[in-house]
Symmetry: C2
Subunit: 113 residues, 2 copies
Amino acid sequence: MAKKLAESCGLGPAFSVIGGKWKALILWLIRTEPRRFGELKRLVPDISEKMLIQQLREMEAHGLVHRKVFHEVPPRVEYSATPLGVSLDDALVPLAEWGKQHAERIGAQQAAE
Amino acid sequence: MAKKLAESCGLGPAFSVIGGKWKALILWLIRTEPRRFGELKRLVPDISEKMLIQQLREMEAHGLVHRKVFHEVPPRVEYSATPLGVSLDDALVPLAEWGKQHAERIGAQQAAE
DNA sequence: TAAGGTACCTACCTGGACGTAAGTATTGAG
DNA sequence: CTCAATACTTACGTCCAGGTAGGTACCTTA
């Protein structure tokens, strides 16, 4: 797996935790304020419920996300970023900046979609 | 595609360019000095030739990598990072740092492999 | 009785990322 | 005439992230 190499630059672990289609976006959304499941579903309209819950669970297992259950009726669950999650989101900021700055150049080649 | 959202945080374009299993590693390897095809193949022993050339071509198309052909015999090709490539690699540094710092915590949950 | 809103869970399927293995063109060395 | 070494190219197969669609349990309102 070229593990030694991948880990030597630290990106292996990072990508294993934030990789995939949705996690970065979810982390970004709960970074500032706790969000309910249904709220996230509405904020990311193209995600399926299965994916949303799956990503949240994985992020919870990785210690990026805190899950708080309110024993009410109807049920209510809030997801928020842990300090670790916030630190990861911070580490993503430069990449996001880069993406914004060069979005056009890149978008040009992917004009479709 | 939740494009507006994904782009609003800039990570969409960035991931579309550096995502996947190999690109970040390749970029990291050619960042400091030009590398030959066979050299990269040796440095990333688990990559197949097909994947290597495919990733290099995509990165070239995205303007991250420069390809220089020496018309010699035997043939010789050198790949190097463009300024854009270097800037992207810079943007990845904080993420790599984060990965290094938390590699253990993460690795613990993926003990296998 | 039934309809609607939470927050999930489960089985099944598809597309594309990725891997494997073989072939190409060139030329010098033996 | 064959072999080695370069940098690819091509056909084919596999596997899993992600998508689809339906179901669960609970309570409220009408």
